[in-house]
């Protein structure tokens, strides 16, 4: 059987390591669109289907390379990077609403490839960039008549922005950010994996694991967020870069963001995107309610101090870059 026929309508859903080699788990998705807040939510539902529980392809990663040569998939239209808790899921949900869009929201196979060097330190940057092109191509296969393709990365993938840009030098990208006190309050309430020392590798360079464990959580989270923001700032000179503040949402999605991504939507598509903005992105059965003021009121002294020391200067710089780019 021809390899493209064999994997038609199958999606790589997991990259894993076996005897120091990367492998891929595939799931039959048919024409299912990725419309849930996160990639794994959509896959999870498919995984409840008896067929998918029993039958899945498991292949060496190199199979993605063979497939990519035959059928590279859609070129990515745009990338979304973010500092976390700043409206990125809302943006992904808005972009996912028109049927012409493929949106991959924090797909774990992409993250596994970007962090492959933490599983095997012999993996080079060139390999990661090549594998990234393969997996992006495999996830960008048309299921119907989609035209545009967006990827929202995990917040910590911003650290690899430079490598991602080298792999996709033509792709426009945005970095979403938010008032750092509000982000820290949200992280203190329920910390993401990236905010737990060691859970996503060593995010803070120059510090050993024990040092990060002993650090006050507010400081650790602030320094992790600072690393993401600094990485985005380092790429700011690119014409492909655009910076969007949480307080510009949701209007910025249908205005400057679509313009930056060079996409052309019908009035029906725009309406569809605007409707998606009315709901809470992570719990779509609830309506969206702004919570900036409530979050700032909840900020502890430690949060305020950590934000002031590690994040406010970067936030000011992000704001300045954003304004400059609009001119």
């Amino acid at each position: 059987m021809d390899i493209t026929e064999k994997f038609q309508d199958w999606t790589p859903v997991r990259v894993y390591w076996h005897e120091n080699r990367p492998f891929v788990d595939w799931c039959y998705m048919g024409a299912t669109r990725f419309t849930q807040p996160f990639f794994d939510n959509t896959v999870e539902w498919q995984m409840t289907q008896p067929f998918n529980l029993l039958f899945r392809h498991q292949t060496p990663l190199e199979v993605l390379g063979e497939l990519n040569e035959r059928n590279p998939g859609l070129e990515p239209t745009g990338f979304v990077f973010h500092m976390s808790r700043c409206g990125s899921t809302l943006v992904a949900q808005m972009l996912a609403s028109p049927a012409r869009n493929i949106v991959m929201s924090e797909p774990p196979p992409v993250d596994s490839i970007l962090r492959a060097n933490t599983k095997n330190d012999l993996v080079t940057d060139e390999q990661r960039a090549r594998w990234l092109k393969w997996i992006v191509g495999a996830l960008g296969q048309r299921r119907r008549d989609e035209k545009y393709y967006f990827i929202k990365f995990d917040s910590w993938n911003t650290i690899d922005l430079d490598l991602i840009r080298r792999a996709f030098p033509q792709t426009p990208w945005i970095f979403l950010y938010r008032n750092p006190v509000e982000v820290l309050v949200s992280q203190m309430r329920e910390r993401g994996a990236q905010m737990i020392p060691g859970a996503i590798g060593q995010i803070l360079p120059g510090l050993d694991f024990m040092e990060t464990l002993q650090m006050p959580p507010e400081e650790y989270c602030a320094r992790v967020l600072a690393r993401f923001c600094q990485s985005a700032i380092n790429g700011a000179a690119s014409e492909n870069a655009r910076f969007v503040n949480y307080n510009q949402l949701p209007e910025a999605v249908t205005a400057e963001m679509l313009e930056h991504f060079r996409v052309d939507y019908s009035p029906e598509d725009i309406e569809c995107i605007e409707t998606a903005a009315q709901f809470n992105s992570k719990t779509p059965w609830l309506t969206f309610a702004p919570d900036s003021e409530a979050k700032r009121k909840q900020a502890s002294e430690a949060v305020l101090q950590a934000a002031e020391k590690w994040l406010v200067p970067l936030y000011d710089e992000l704001e300045s870059i954003r304004r400059r780019k609009l001119i």
């Binding site: 059987m1 026929e5 064999k6 997991r14 894993y16 788990d25 039959y28 995984m47 289907q49 008896p50 067929f51 529980l53 029993l54 039958f55 899945r56 392809h57 774990p108």
Partner: protein, 68 residues
């Protein structure tokens, strides 16, 4: 032995698109497992319903533990 037979059957299914099509669309697991055993037997490959349940449990476990 019947587990090895089931693994052999699974590889056959993954290479046979019409066979895959005939096994999709089941939402009830009991019905699905019965059909899988029956389809294997019709091709001369004998395995038990428990082999199929065990494979499904194992795949579910791997999926749930993917972050570990």
């Amino acid at each position: 032995m019947s587990q090895e037979n089931f693994e052999k059957f699974r590889q056959i299914v993954l290479e046979d698109l019409p066979l895959q099509e005939s096994l999709r669309g089941f939402t009830e697991r009991d019905e699905f497992v019965a059909r899988v055993v029956e389809t294997g037997a019709a091709r001369g490959i004998e395995f038990t319903a428990e082999d199929v349940w065990e494979a499904m449990r194992e795949n579910r476990r791997v999926w749930i533990e993917r972050w570990i």
